[in-house]
């Protein structure tokens, strides 16, 4: 089962390597990993998408929590949450079905063209993994895909619950 794990990490040299190393050493798979500093520059937030049954996820959370730099860790998929991924696609203009492309962009308000070259356009889209997949499937039918960059999932819990570092 797909799970989203959020980790607040002390922004120390090597901390990210230790998290990633733990996952590979213990044979946990990482489907996607997103990391950046938070509003507190001393703290990074990692969002990890992985999969496993309850026992595996329980071990992943408990073993990760033993890392010295880990401030807090939560399985966001246990409760209602919001998640988003970013997609950036460069498409070629040769062979572009222009009218259909415009219609597609209108159907997806989350999509926009962020750059235009002589022979290409860059389209950006954000949404859940499923939305990104659906949008990309449509787009790739309308235009030749030259390049694709996609972020991992970022996620937060819904409502007033806040994941804060323990002190």
């Amino acid at each position: 089962m797909r799970r989203i794990i959020a980790i607040l990490l002390q922004n120390e040299a090597g901390a990210l390597v230790r998290v990633a190393g733990l996952f590979s050493a213990r044979g946990y798979n990482i489907d996607s990993l997103t990391v950046a500093a938070t509003h507190d520059p001393a703290i990074s937030r990692l969002t990890l998408v992985t999969s496993g049954d309850d026992a595996v996820i329980d071990q992943i959370v408990k073993q990760s929590r033993k890392l010295i730099d880990v401030l807090e860790i939560a399985d966001l998929s246990r409760s209602d949450h919001l998640e988003s991924e970013l997609l950036i696609v460069k498409i070629g203009l040769a062979g572009l079905a222009a009218a259909e492309f415009d219609a597609c962009m209108r159907r997806h308000p989350a999509a926009c063209v962020v750059d235009q070259g002589a022979g290409s356009r860059v389209v950006q889209f954000s949404g859940t993994g499923r939305d990104v997949n659906a949008f990309f499937a449509e787009l790739s039918n309308l235009a030749p895909v030259l390049e694709l960059a996609r972020s991992g999932t970022a996620a937060v819990g819904r409502g007033d619950v806040v994941l804060t570092p323990r002190t």
Binding site: A13, G14, G21, K62, I68, R166
Partner: protein, 622 residues
Amino acid sequence: MNAVLEDPPETTGHPLAGAAMSGADVVVQVLADEGVEVVFGYSGGAILPVYDAVFRYNHEHPKADGAEPLPLIVPANEQGAGFMAQGYARASGRVGVALVTSGPGATNTVTPVRDAMADSIPIVVLCGQVPTGAIGTDAFQEAPISNIMAACAKHVFLVTDADRLEATLRTAFEIARTGRPGPVVVDIPKDIQNAELRFRGSGTLPLPGYRARLRAIDTATLDAARCAAFFDALGRARRPLIYAGGGVIAGDAAGALRDFARAFAMPVTTTLMGLGAVDTTEPLSLQMLGMHGTAFANYAVEDCDFLIAVGARFDDRVAGVPQAFAGGARYIAHFDVDPAEIDKVKRADWHHLGNLARALDTLRIYGLQHGFRPREQDRYAPWHAHLAALKRTHAMNYDRASAQIQPYAVIEAINAITRGRAIISTGVGQHQMWAAQYFDFREPRLWLTSGSMGTMGFGLPAAIGAQFARRDLPVIDIDGDASIRMNLGELETVTTYGLPIKVVVLNNAGDGMVRQWQKLFFKGRFSATDKSLHKKDFVRAAQADGFEWARRLADPAELPAVIAEFVAFDGPAFLEVVIDPDAGVYPMVGPGMTYAQMITGDFIASRQAQPAAVEAGPSEMF
């Protein structure tokens, strides 16, 4: 993040607060402040400033008797230093320290660091590193120690900001000794060692997550409701059994465990790492369980209806088949300090995360106050009688009539003299298991063995480290002819420092334990495990390294006299014993097998029909 806890120098109360020091001097001063009394290490270019600082410190601070306050013990190989630090830590409960240079010096300590992690042993390894400006340039003797060690250690620090050096060192000791103990590596670039600093005298790095989790475990108590739930379930049990692991030793909970077991007349079996948690000579001790546990301990695990796991983790050498392990236990209670061990292998019906000794004391007092007095009520009399019968019927035994020296007899002869009051270290293999099975262990921290990693070469350097921790006790290394070769260079270290260590090599001409598996699982094809044509003369090797007492024992008739002389010798002594090369380790619960499939060999009675000739295919299990 630069937020080192700021203590203005004048307020820390340290007599040296505010003093100007080099980074290297800071290292040595923190070691002294941490109560370090011996450092195991090997010098080299990238750690020279610290070695020089130790030299100066020892010169300037002689002890009352003129001795050095921070003696540097130099091994033959940095792996030896790591295991010496471990031996010191295992025997004393204090943090052991190794000090090595960059690159090869540091990588040589990977094995002892991983070994310490696997057995939860607190050590701090300080490594020199190339100067910060040279990191990442493929500099001479550069190795990515923080990456390598991150995968092996409890934690690793690469000090890149000299201002954080002092707090980092103090924090390293804190992390090593707290919670579930383990190894911490501090990688110190040479320019940091040479930096001009002002000593603070106190302060650690902020570790809010780690410390909050520690506090939660440290302050966890058992409330009346949890105690009641425990005794409710226990009250329905007739055959309780305590299964104690290395956590009892690491957590200094042996006293509380003994009180608990005694108060409720409960039998105890321990893991390899838990030997010494209870006095193995007591009637209710069943000695070791598991792959090579006693038959009676393993039968007791099969027969118990209530299992109390204390500081033990159901590892594959104990619970090869977790579903089948303690299959008759209707209730499992689990005490630990590591949340990740709860329900990892075997679901517990009741568990407590917290200080083991305090939890056991709380439960004992609660039980007694609430009228749980199985001892007075003779509640477990049938269970005790059953266990006594198991111990009688399935006692450890071997071929006592053999014309060849039996390894078990060697251990028994030594044990008859030391009687559970000596420190025993081992290599890895059959001799390790024979030592675990045939020695008495009366106190914690007398049994030093590489349990989880099973590292050959552990025994000799661990014995050296232990002797520095316990000058008052005899230290005996029971080693194998193959294991001792791994760190044979440390024989000389024994004589260099005049340590009265006794080294026994049980020579079965090869890798006996591997041969045992080859017999069982590979139809007796002894691929690369036979050393009968090897040329080594162990006695001459020991003599060449300065052992005045070095002998080879091959005649069984001489065994008692030679052992007596060997143990009594006042100084380092080396004894090679030529043993029956076919002697096996029994009982044996094969890898991936259940206790019901335990084979007991020809000299220990089994209560199951024994498989005629085990002709198993190559086992998938390890």
